[in-house]
Amino acid sequence: MTESAPRLGFFARAWTVCAKDAAQELRRRVAAASVFFFAATSLALVSFAIGPFGLPPDVRGRVDASLVWIILFFSAATGLPRAFVREEETGTGLALRKLVPGVVVLAGKALFNFALFLAIAALSVPAFALLLEWRIGSPAALAAVVFLGGWGLAVVSTFLSALVARGGQRNVLFVVVSFPLLVPLLLPAIAATIEASEGSFAWTPLRVLVAYDGAATSAAYLLASAAWED
């Protein structure tokens, strides 16, 4: 007589999905490497175009903060939408749909995307600061902005990836559906980054980020099965 396997909890199962995605990415490496390559290329382009002395000091903080988030957003946009699209391309979507509830898959893939975003930010932001002599007055405040902005970006991108995964023109479609939904996240993130570079915590934009993350996470949680399951 065989014993049935112990039933895993929500977070354990989400973590399993996250670990599966990480193992797949580490095995293929091409997708993750292309995301980092994109970030490095855009960083080099910005560095060439502007450089540390190309901007007047009174606008530098604002422009630097905007450029950091533009680089982060577009680098993430090359990798994050792959969360569900990859399952359809490799033909594993059906099995995943049958074995794991949609909300667990979404949580696992959002975790993986969040980790990917943090890795991109951990390399891009210091490189940007170094190449453009961008002084960060409060690294703790900047870390809070990147953390909150990154979570919102990961959740929204993962949810939208589930929606577009089985549509035509997936890559174009992802950009079309994600940009308007992510602007309300990017605006307070840029505002808080400006303050962080000047050495202070911008509480109002940070509160907006917390509210946005909460709303996006709750909505994605409630709509996960409608977005992914048949």
Binding site: G168, L173, V177, P184, L187, A211, A226
Partner: protein
Amino acid sequence: MKLLKLLLLPYMAAVIAGAFLWVEPAEGFIGESSRIVFFHVPCAWTAALAFVVAAAYSLAYLVRRNPRSDRIAEAAVRLGLLFAVLTIVTGSVFAKIMWGAYWNWDPRQSSYLLLIFLYAAYLFLRAAIDDPERRARIGAAYALFAAVLMPFLVFVAPRVTESLHPQTVINTEGKILMDTPTKTIFFAGLVGFTALFLWLLEIETRLGGIRRRGGAGRPLGIPASN
């Protein structure tokens, strides 16, 4: 019901006449530009109402899986886009008179433009999915997700940054600073535009049903193949 529809034409004509002939232009605005409030704000209100209706019927579709709810949601988004474009156009006319340019990248102008992109994306998303049941389900999920994040775009983002836009109708103290004729025509306009939207919604929903029965479920003409 038919009588109410017939009465809408003289009613709206009376609102337009009242807006131009009864109400005095407001102080602090160039020329007659303040009269735009009788058309611009009702358009913005109707667009927001349409997107709320789309969210409500999307939720209804996900709960009951009734195709009519999906048709109403899609029709509401189409009409919401129409009224949002009218909001942008009327706002741009006002911007040209008051600020010297049709487009100033004011946070409110930009947020409304993004709102149009947000719901245009709904139509793109639907057009890219072949299976009608999946198209309806994915469309409903997107419409609800967009409705949850829309307030950040329309209400929060413009308040995080400086804006040229005049004070909103209900100001920060929760008061409406309008004289009686202005208030009368303004609220009559809101009622008229709302009634017009409901009428158009009925027509567009019926047209949606006819299009689907005819097999033309792909109004944007985007091929589904990747």
